[in-house]
């Protein structure tokens, strides 16, 4: 493919790691500006902090508020440099494994405090 429509091909698409495991959605795309002032595709942003602002109105506020309360907000969205993208088709595939990326705090928190404490969670 020699060109991409950012909104169509990237935004809201599923991101999977090199083994096909879910990483998140492309909640927002970051464009960098180089020395000459020309914009380029810099990174994919994942997380409710990136997603919330795209939804205007009460639904967006609800979502952002919920995310804040659910302590997913502390270190900002997950930023995946575009260099790590291997391929874009029905999903955005990364060239790395999920473990190398920062895990969303909500996932770790729920595992530690709820799911991981229920017998049989590792089976």
């Amino acid at each position: 493919m020699n060109e991409l429509y950012v909104s169509f091909h990237l935004l809201d698409r599923q991101i999977v790691d090199r083994d096909g495991l879910e990483v998140g959605k492309v909640d927002e795309v970051e464009l960098g500006i180089d020395d000459r002032g020309a914009p380029y595709l810099a990174a994919l942003l994942v997380g409710p902090q990136a997603f919330g602002p795209r939804i205007s109105g009460w639904l967006g506020r609800l979502l952002t508020g919920l995310a804040r309360r659910l302590r997913t907000d502390r270190s900002g969205p997950l930023r995946i440099p575009y260099d790590l993208v291997r391929q874009v088709d029905s999903a955005v595939e990364l060239s790395v494994r999920r473990d190398l990326l920062r895990e969303p705090e909500l996932e770790s928190w729920l595992r530690e405090h709820l799911i991981g404490r229920i017998p049989g969670s590792a089976e």
């Binding site: 991101i15 096909g20 495991l21 959605k25 997603f51 909500l106 996932e107 729920l110 969670s121």
Partner: protein
Amino acid sequence: MKKFLAFTLGILTAIGGFVDIGDLVASSLSGARFGLALAWVLVLGVIGICAYAEMAGRVVAITKRPVFDLVRERLGPRVALVNLVASYLVTLLTLAAELGGVALAIELVTSVSYLLWVPVVGFVLWVALWRVKFETLERIFGLLGLVLVVFVVALFRLPGHGPDLWHQALSPVPTPGENWNTYWYFAVSLFASALTPYEVFFFSSGGVEENWGPRQLPEMRVNVFIGFPLGGGLALALMAVSAEVFHPLDAQVTSLGQVALPAALALGRLGLAVAILGFFAATFGAAMETGLSAAYVVAQFFGWPWGKRLQPRRAARFHTVLLVSVLLGIVALMTTIDPIQLTEYMLVFSAVVLPLTYLPILVVANDRGYLGDHVNGRLANAVGVIFLVVIVAAAAAAIPLMIVTGAGG
């Protein structure tokens, strides 16, 4: 054996669409009130769900993207979020109703009030969804639900009015004493129930759980073209026995116990016991389907790791949504809301959001960039477009009909 069991995902999915707690009663009730004059809606529903489940299954086999993934991608975040909220609520309240249905089935063999069974059923459901493998659940409840075939047997054992039934089926108009508004209200809710959105959520996610690829396309089609017609056939049998037993007496069916009565009349205690076992399996199967679907849609909207193929600790957010949904379902029922009424209202509301789920499936099934040579053929597109129009019409008519008829009064 593997080949023989290859269609259980389709069966289990179809159970949620055709013989869950709401449908068990709704099919019998429409048989009692209209004879077989609404049988065509079931036929139409089977064709529609087959067409769309096949598309959704094909998309999953080729791209591994389940339906709610496509919903957000094609409709954009805002519309998809509205669809998410609506679909989640419909699915959650249906889950609550199914828990009630399982409890009602148990009440029929214990005469202990269903409300006391609800927490027990909820707990057992959650344990099953936590511990048992997806394929195992699918096989047990898909196959066990098939014992509802007892109503087909009952139909042949009942003193025959076969010609009457044919006559009713071939004259699709309100029977004497009924009016067109009520007729169409029943038609819309039977149709919406045949195409409830959680069926495609569950079926497509089930395809991912079972790791379908292009080589499983034939298996997927077997699931669709055996599973859904079987489910629809069971609903038709329920409608027919009720048309035979209750319709001539001008009596309506409002409780699960009455739904089983024709089986007892035709086949005695054994028939009754099998019918109740079938109710149990079908409602429990539908509870699994709706419980998982509630968690699937949320996880797929946000892109979280999901599914029973992962260890629960590797999908903590998914399993949290699942746990919370089951708890909310239990709480909803403990308000003593009538589970049967609940599903019927949910059907009407789900009719309203149906187009937001089915449009993206149709669009993606035509996307060569995704499916290559597996895009829709002419037939699939013709059926898809016709049904999209019908779905939109049903969506538009659902609430006005509910209001003018006082919900089928």
